[in-house]
Symmetry: C2
Subunit: 302 residues, 2 copies
Amino acid sequence: MEKPLTASLRQYEVFVAIAETLHFGQAAAHLGVAQPALTQQLKHLETAFDGALLFDRNRRRVTLTEFGRALLPEARALLQQARRVEAVAEAARTGQRGRIELAYVGSASYAGILGRLLRELRAGAAGVNLILRELDMDLQIAEIVAGRLDAGFVRLPLSGVPETLLTRTVHTEDILLAVPPDHRLARVPSVAMATLREENFIFSHLGPDMGFAACAYQLCADAGFAPRVAHRAPQFTAIVNFVSAGLGVAFVPTSAARMKDAGVSFLPIKDAKVQSRIGLAYLRDPSNPVLRRLLDTIEPES
Amino acid sequence: MEKPLTASLRQYEVFVAIAETLHFGQAAAHLGVAQPALTQQLKHLETAFDGALLFDRNRRRVTLTEFGRALLPEARALLQQARRVEAVAEAARTGQRGRIELAYVGSASYAGILGRLLRELRAGAAGVNLILRELDMDLQIAEIVAGRLDAGFVRLPLSGVPETLLTRTVHTEDILLAVPPDHRLARVPSVAMATLREENFIFSHLGPDMGFAACAYQLCADAGFAPRVAHRAPQFTAIVNFVSAGLGVAFVPTSAARMKDAGVSFLPIKDAKVQSRIGLAYLRDPSNPVLRRLLDTIEPES
DNA sequence: GTCCAGTGATCTGTCTTGCTTATCACCCGG
DNA sequence: CCGGGTGATAAGCAAGACAGATCACTGGAC
């Protein structure tokens, strides 16, 4: 057990104020209190130091003693640190400083949204310690619910998640149809959903009610058919590879169309009524101020 | 006017104690208070930060919030600085830290006493800022009385100085007689005062009642004669030079006999009853703790 | 489910602290 | 010698800190 501290911040504050003006009355005005308070506080401080005087008070002139002179820089440093703590507290409270742990699904990294958002997050908040990692959607949800992850970027929608898990859309993009080089649609400028009824589709592994797959199924449902799923693959890179190999066609988000892979064509869909949305998933009433600040930089939607 | 500090050291102390144990009861025991006090103080601290919580208290487990985690290192630094201030205060109070301004007469530097005393002063007190300069005795006294000098090494005795000026002997040495090479006494091993009645003497500038000159006059008076002063010189180096030139003989302290100058002989005086003393002169009840500490290292004499 | 041990929050009364106002004591310049 | 300026002192009051007792909630044992 360390020995208890014997003097208070207030006492050092008084000491430094008097040392700066060498005048009790002016120092009192500066601190916004009456003069007797200073006499008392200073006396308390001196008592804390075994009665060693900090000032020579000659009734007419106040001067620092050698003891006071030795103490002054340390006392100043203490006050400065005290102010610093409060400044840091303010920054931490408003999320301009602190730590946040985020994750993102692989396909979110194509969209360029990550860089933009995180740049915004750090704008004027250099003290933010950001831990970012790629993680699949289902694992993200588990980590967030368990409190081990602050938030994650996922493909919406979610389903079967606790009510306390909220999402907010941060990016929306069109869905394209990826077709192999030798496919009958490879050269057309765009395609209508109705013409795809008989195609073999490559879908992601995720179930039909979550993420990008849910949008893809919705597209087909809107067109009045259920897609024939010929293959499944975990990521869009794999899906596009499969398409390139001629195993079928696939829906992909616009951002995934950057991979001009072995002659795969990416066709706009004329009558698509749904888009793919990337959202940030997080627990309701987040306590992490950095996360709150991040949410504030996003328009409050969904 | 800086904005006032909103939180006290005590509150940070409580915060850090709880953060270290993550247990209110144990932290309270550690601080030597009852548990409710911690709840209160912590709440006050949180209120000071706009109500932002520092801990999640789940009744069963106490964990730092992200806000608390961000604040903890700064709060620790603050407490460390507070402890440092008190340590510095203790060191300054006991004279192990601080500033002291000393002076010495030229002849004190021969005696080697300066180095020894000041080495003792700095032993275990590396924080002492020592300002040292050579200064004539009369100027030293003026500076000390005016409060511009803490203390000075002079040749005793003093006279005609304020009662508040005290001295303490730090070194005592025999007085020798310096004689020119071609003097009738140049070859004798020692000399008796009675044989010097008719000599021409070289004395220092200072009056007959202060410093080394007072001792020299006393020697002669003890032998029953008043010295015939042929010349005066300000320092012992000059006096020995005069002796070397054959202008007369002179009394010098042993330490000044180091200058084996052009064949001057330094003879012990058989029946000398006085010695020359170097003393530290200072104002009574010194407020400078470093000076007090210096005085403590000297046996309280004179 | 029921109970129990553990733990933080709350309540209350007491003592301490910090501040204010009023006044005193002292120094110094005219 | 007197008056302005300044720090110290005194008294009173409001706020704060703390102890002790108690409450309220959690989570594990069975």
